[in-house]
Subunit: 337 residues, 2 copies
């Protein structure tokens, strides 16, 4: 018979979660978890960089496609990725958890375990949080980090508004793997050869913190992460920068497993319209972007996939290998549509 949450009570449950977070719970800070707020020393000469994300059951995950531990990992990775997408270093997370009526203590333990693993993978710690009862299980994480020293770099942030005509467009890693992973899970094909890399990309994505730093140090001023889908996210850059963007479909780094399992067309559409890959989009001079490619040393590849133009401002056009514009099945993710 599992312990009912009502019997445990809010504050015992918080203690239990902090215990299970282990080294991921920030302890050697000025005010660790357990007070009204957390406090820590800030880095001299750096800017504070902060973001918040909210994930909710039914919209961002379903219990038939991932566990609460996976959702916890993804919530951490999504937030860390937002800081990586600024070229910042993540330091601390604050975690709000809304527990739906059916959540069990085992699931909460799994959630803490998933967050712990994601914190270890991304070198970030949890400084505090809040836990409530809700009609719908919801995870809201705020991430707090710091920029590179402001005096050391010309452009301390990767901004959406800094793309210039003449820039090349690059992306890290491979695209579409997360969306392909969800398609594989929904088709009950998880056990097929090659499925694991896709499923893992969906449930346990990694953010690109080091690449963000490297890009800032290389003088890159424009970038963001792929969270809503490549075309949607390039659209954000195009509108914020007042430029057009052109993508060559045949240069996209598509996950081979997605092609093998789902076919070339679906894999391409997932690369263009699937979200939550948490890879980085960067724009800048071709030579600077090429030097960021670490595929030869086991790091993330960086691929040139397009260019920034002065025409069709705010618009993203994809060209197929025959030179004709290509319209994918979906351009990306809008929370309200």
């Amino acid at each position: 018979m599992p312990t009912p949450l009502e019997e445990l009570g809010e504050f015992s449950l918080i203690d239990r979660i902090v215990q299970r977070l282990g080294v991921a719970a920030a302890r050697n800070i000025l005010v660790p978890p357990g007070d009204d707020a957390a406090a820590w020393r800030v880095e001299d000469g750096c800017a504070a960089v902060a973001t918040i994300d909210m994930l909710t059951e039914g919209t961002h995950w379903r219990l038939d496609t991932m566990t609460l531990g996976d959702a916890g990992w993804r919530a951490v990775a999504a937030n860390v990725s937002d800081l990586a997408a600024m070229g910042a270093t993540p330091d601390y997370l604050l975690v709000g958890i809304g527990l739906g009526p059916d959540v069990t203590l085992d699931e909460i333990d799994d959630l803490a375990e998933g967050m712990l693993e994601a914190c270890l993978a991304h070198h970030v710690r949890i400084a505090g949080g809040d836990i409530i009862r809700s009609h719908t299980t919801t995870i809201s994480i705020a991430a707090y980090g710091h920029s590179l020293p402001l005096a050391e770099v010309r452009s301390p942030f990767l901004r959406r508004s800094r793309a210039k005509p003449g820039d090349r467009v690059a992306v890290s890693g491979t695209l579409g793997a997360s969306a392909a992973g969800l398609a594989v899970i929904e088709a009950l094909r998880e056990s097929e050869a090659g499925a694991e890399v896709l499923v893992r990309a969906h449930r346990r994505p990694r953010a690109r913190v080091q690449l963000g730093h490297d890009a800032i140090r290389a003088g890159i001023a424009c970038g963001m992460d792929v969270s809503d889908g490549l075309m949607q996210d390039l659209g954000h850059i195009a509108r914020a920068s007042g430029v057009g963007i052109e993508v060559d479909a045949n240069t996209l780094p598509i996950e081979q497993a997605a092609v093998d399992l789902l076919g070339a067309r679906a894999a391409l559409d997932f690369a263009l319209g699937g979200g939550e890959d948490f890879e980085l989009i960067l724009t800048g001079p071709a030579e600077a972007l090429k030097r960021l490619d670490q595929a030869a040393t086991g790091g993330p590849p960086v691929s040139l996939v397009g260019r920034v133009v002065g025409d069709h401002a705010g618009e993203v056009i994809v060209f197929a290998s025959d030179g004709k514009p290509y319209e994918p099945a979906r351009r990306g993710w809008d929370q309200l549509r």
Copy 2:
């Protein structure tokens, strides 16, 4: 015919909210709302202080007792209060909004208006956010601020763990008004004489930022805000400090309107067990606490209501005017019970 949210789309809705936030949207910071994360300069020599809170419809508010604008105000005030309860200065908020299926554009406008008003009242700005669709309307706010300069004060934070036997216990303002306000609203007695002060305390509570600073400057080292109910919150201090706490019921600053409308017994119980007054609890020497009382100059009163003792560690005992222990109807709020 109101505009459906689906037609507006996520990014137009975000633009609309930022517009309506007006001066509450942080614009003159290194990276204002609209990028992957927000960024600002940090105060030299101060610590970063941060907190997160989550409020959800059904648990923290009901649409028959307050509007979404009221909920937005309260979400801001609750977060600011957590920083006030550390003695910190709030700077920026990050706001995550989960929109339930029935939320209208008018309600979202009202939410933005409520947050704007609360930001103006508390001198804090919104640096970024996230908006999602959810089964349940949920507001998650993370607040970031800074401590007083670490080199200038002996104890830079009001901690729950610093109460010492011999300390007196003080509270600011009046207690129980928010819970009494909810009772008045639920009893459909809003239009009665004296109800307004209670209803306002429930829907538009104020956090005590200046008092937190003053307490730190006066050398007070122990404090927190009244968010879960006085007895529950004193229990947090008693356990964190390993001390006992004794309260004299007849010294509690009970809102007179609550006595007039609901009777002395109910008003006392709301003062002891009702939450979300966002007043500050402070412990320390009687003289230092008395000097914080600003009632004579129109500021918040600070009342001595009890003492910290070496006995019954972890326990809070309330004494009635006849000297006998008094047990209120409810000791406070536990999210899971």
